[in-house]
Structures are given as structure tokens and as C-alpha cells.
Amino acid sequence: MTRITTAALLAATLGAVYAFAPAGPDRHVPTVPLAAPVATGAGVLVVDLDDGIGREGLDLLSAAVGTEFDWVHPEAEDEALAWAEVPNVSSALAVARGLAQVEAVEPDLRMEAFGYPNDPMYAKQWNLEDIGAPVAYATSADGRGIVVAVVDTGVSKVEDLEGTRMLEGMSFVPGAKTAADDQGHGTHVAGTIAQTTNNGKGVAGVAPGATILPVKVLSSAGFGSSAWIAAGIDYAVDEGADVINLSLGGGYSSIIHNAIKKARQQGVIVVAAAGNSGRRGVGYPGALEETIGVSATGPGGAMAPYSSYGEGVDIAAPGGDKTKTDGGILQDTIDGRGGHHYVEYQGTSMATPHVAGAAAVLLGEGMAPDAVERVLLDTARGDAWDEKYGHGRLDLAAALGLAGSGFGKIRFLLGAVLALLVAQLASTRSRFQVASASVAAVVSGGLWFVPGALLGSLGFLARPALEWPAQLVGDWWVTFPLVLSALLTVAVGFTLGAWRGSRPLAQGLACGTAAYLFHGAATGAVAPWLVPDSFGALWLAANATVCLVVALGLAGAQKIEEQERIR
């Protein structure tokens, strides 16, 4: 083994130690391109009124600008900090500046500059900040293409759900002909999962790109028989649900258990509430091994007083605590009078859709269901499992970080090591080895080590090069079976691989693709579309092996050519 190869392998080993080391408290926060700024017309205006002016100042400001202003937070009344969404920021700004009671006024720069959603009530959604949803917004990871079944009281397309993708769904409740909500619970739950976000209206959701499948199994009283619920779960699976949200519970039911088992066998992630007894003892189906059982936390992350806890809790998520100011989970739902309203609810029912939405976001990034479950639990904020928080509090930002840069580091090293070993086997020259290893590392791991600020609008380069075309053609690319195959490697191997100058490129592509696919097979980080889950790993491993054979062939050709040149 040459010295340079030994050094490279040593560096790779050291890098691997780094890649596998615990992330520690310093969580990775992507600095990738941010969402487009809010349109210059409408926007949010923040006004600092004279301290202590109270309601009178708020009314004065509202009357002058012609828009209802409110305190930024109940605690902000003393400082008299108010805000409102206004149809025209510049004209409202001019009016507000003319008022003697105004100390300072400006557009809400945080929302505009950092790509936060422009939904005006987003500021009250502490729950979305708590789980790190802004990181998903900033990276455009929104669960696009993923179907989440809301098996509940039904879902109605209230005003703020208008832009949300929604299927027709089905009702299993006798007397209810459609899957429309006649209770309010299911619509609220659906909103937390996939509320239309960044639409300048109302509130935001965790996975706004996901598609909601409404399945009505609970009556207007909020109760459903085991038969209705089991049938609803079966239906959701048949309709292609990727995630099933069960914000319901009760005693053990074997037919519901069987339906959930079948769903899991089909690769569907089932998320269920732990229950609201405030006592030890998790209700069913949250307590089942096949479900992700979710307990509830309030603002600040403490366990909510009503949440059930004990064996069966896998993860905790914001369910709200209305004993605290603005401590509930705010969403848009039906008001029972033919209209809709934004209302705060609390309960493990409200915690569950945060996890369902997070699962949809990760699935939308191309991860396999088993990997999604593992990543959600592994990245949850907590140490060892405990009966209140399970593996910890949901952290979507960390989960996306692991799915992105964490996997990227491992793949990067795998690609480099594979390429070096293959080239070493054929005893090629060190220049070829280094060149092909560099290409392989980038193909499988991307430029994850380049600071996002430097990449700027080219943030997608931090992802594996194999995924770069998705930036142009769409996210379907990362799960397309022919992309997750040896097709490209074979094609390039027989073309670019034929010439000495481009052979390192072909060799690097072969080894990088092999590393990417082997890693996917081992971890479930990628799941080929249309390939049954039970064959997904086999598909990836078989194609990775073909890539490796091509790489060996290219290395052999390189060695023969090098020997001929010496003669």
C-alpha cells in the first residue's frame, strides 16, 4: 500500500470517528437558501407605542392604519409592542410614523429576512418553533408527495386549509355520508400536520406540502366503534397513506391492533396519542409496539399535566398547556355554526400530529419508513428513555440535520474509502486513486463540509451529487428506482470509462453510487419508489454490487493501460 493511500485511509478512519460521534448540544442548523421574501405589498408591521399606553393606543393605531392591531405577545403590553398584518406595508408604515404615540415602527424583518412563514398568527405557534419546524421551512422540506391519513372526526376544508392538498376520503360512521368534519377535532389535527403555510393567512403547519387523507371514524360526539376505526385504518392503507395519525384512544381492541399490524407490514408509519388521563398507563393504540406513542408537553417543554405516561410512550411533542398564557395549540377548525375559527386546543391529540407531520417531512426527503422512525427517536431531545418523554422531545431540526448532513458525512467517507480500496486492489497509480476517491465522496456525500453561507443559492450542492438533478427536475428524482440503480454507472462506465482522462470520473461515479446505495440498504435512508418495502434494501444492495463490479472493471482497465504506458 502506498504512503499516500495509507494516509488517505487513515484520514478516512479519523473522519469516520468524527461522523459517528454524538452530535452534542451544538445542533446543526442548515444555512441553505431561504424562502423567497414576502411580497412587497402585504406584510407584517411592528409598532412600538409609548410605554404603558394600553388598549387606548392599540385602538388609536388600528383606527389610523385601518387594520386591527394586537400585542405581539400578552407580555408585550407593558412595552406597548403591537403588530398586524397589513395589506400595504409602505402606506401603513407612513401612517403609523405620523402618529405622536408611536416611538418606532418597521416591517417585521425577521419574517421577511429569514424565510419564516408569513402566516400572521405564526407568532403564537410556539409549538412549531419548539420542534424546529423553521429549519424545515428554510430547507423547503415540507412532506411533498406524502399522504397522511387523519383517522378522526373527519376533516373540513376550512379557510386556512384551502391551499392544502386533500383527498376526498371516506366516512365509516353510519349516517355521515362524507369525510367532512362535524366535530372540530379532526380539522384541527389536520391543520397541525399540513396547514397551508406562508399564505399570509392564519396559521402554519408542520408539513405543508403533505396531502391529507380524511378518514372519518369518529362521530360528532367524538366516539367511534372499534369496527369503524379498524375499517378506516384498512382504507387508509389501501388508499396509499404513508403515515396514519391516530389522535384517539381507549381500551385494547384486537381488530384495531390487527389493522395497525397490517399497516406497518405495508410500511405505513402509525402515530398515536398516549392518552389524557394525567396518570401512569398509556392508552391504546398508543401503547402498541407498532405505533409511535406520543405524550404531550407544554410551552417550555415540561410535560403537560393531563398527559398519560408510562410504557408505550416513544416520544413527546407539543400538546399544549392552557394553564399558561397562549399555551394551547392554535389551529383553524370548524366552529359548529357553519363557519370556522382559530382556536387553541390542548391534549395528546394535538401532540400526535406534530410527530405525524415530522414523519411526513422526513419521508418527503426520500427516507424509508423504518429509518424515519429511528431518526425521529434518535434525535429526540432527551437522554435515556423515560416514562414521560419516551426517547425525548420531538426535534425535527435535528432529525433533518441527521438525515441531511449526518448521513452525508457517512456516505462521503464510504464513497472515498470504497474508491480507494477498489483502486488499491487493482494497484493503480495514486493520482487515479485520489481523483476517483474525490469524485466518489462527492457523488455519495456531497459538499456537506462547505459552509452554507458560501454555497448561497447553490445550497443543494451540500447534498450527494447523485441528488443534485432533483434541484432541476423535482424531488421525485431522489426516490426514482432507475436513479437508485446501477443504470447511470453502467452507462457512464462504458462511455467515459473508456478514456483515460475521464476514467476517474466514471470510477468515482461507480464507487460513489455503490456507497450511496449500500448506505441506503443498510440504514433505509433512501427508499426506491414503487419497489415494495420488503424488497427495497435488496434492490439497493443488488444495484450497489453491480456498481462495485463496474468499478473493479474500470480499475482493472486503468491498471492495464498504466502498465502499457510504462512498456
Partner: protein
């Protein structure tokens, strides 16, 4: 069936009613329950059901036919 116990409204989801029996057992009530009886000793008439609900405050569930002060 009839049960006698203390009625309580819980601010969970869209609202949940619980009847705590003298022995400590809890029943989740589904159906129309007069709000003014919150916290009072009541007699509940209804049918115990097999299934699940949104309240998740107790394993036993009752579809309420009537609720009256005890």
C-alpha cells in the same frame, strides 16, 4: 344502564366529560352533557360502548342518553 358519580369537564381537545364513580372508577362520557352540571353529583343514563374516542381520559366509555342532578 345508570351510574352515579361526580361529573367533570376537562379542557381537552374540543372538550371531554368524565364521571368519577364512588369507587374511583372513571367513565368517559360521549354525547350531550349539560355544561351547568360540571362539578356536580349526577346520575347518568346511557350505554357502555366498545371503541375509542378523542377524550382519552378513561378506558371505559359511555354513550349518554341523559344526565341529571343526583
Amino acid at each position: 344502564m345508570k351510574w352515579t358519580g361526580k361529573l367533570a369537564h376537562h379542557d381537552l381537545g374540543t372538550g371531554a366529560w368524565v364521571l368519577t364513580l364512588s369507587g374511583g372508577d372513571r367513565l368517559a362520557l360521549y354525547g350531550d352533557v349539560p355544561r351547568e352540571l360540571d362539578g356536580k353529583q349526577v346520575v347518568v343514563e346511557g350505554d357502555e360502548m366498545e371503541g375509542m374516542g378523542i377524550g382519552m381520559v378513561a378506558d371505559r366509555m359511555v354513550q349518554v342518553r341523559s344526565v341529571k342532578s343526583a
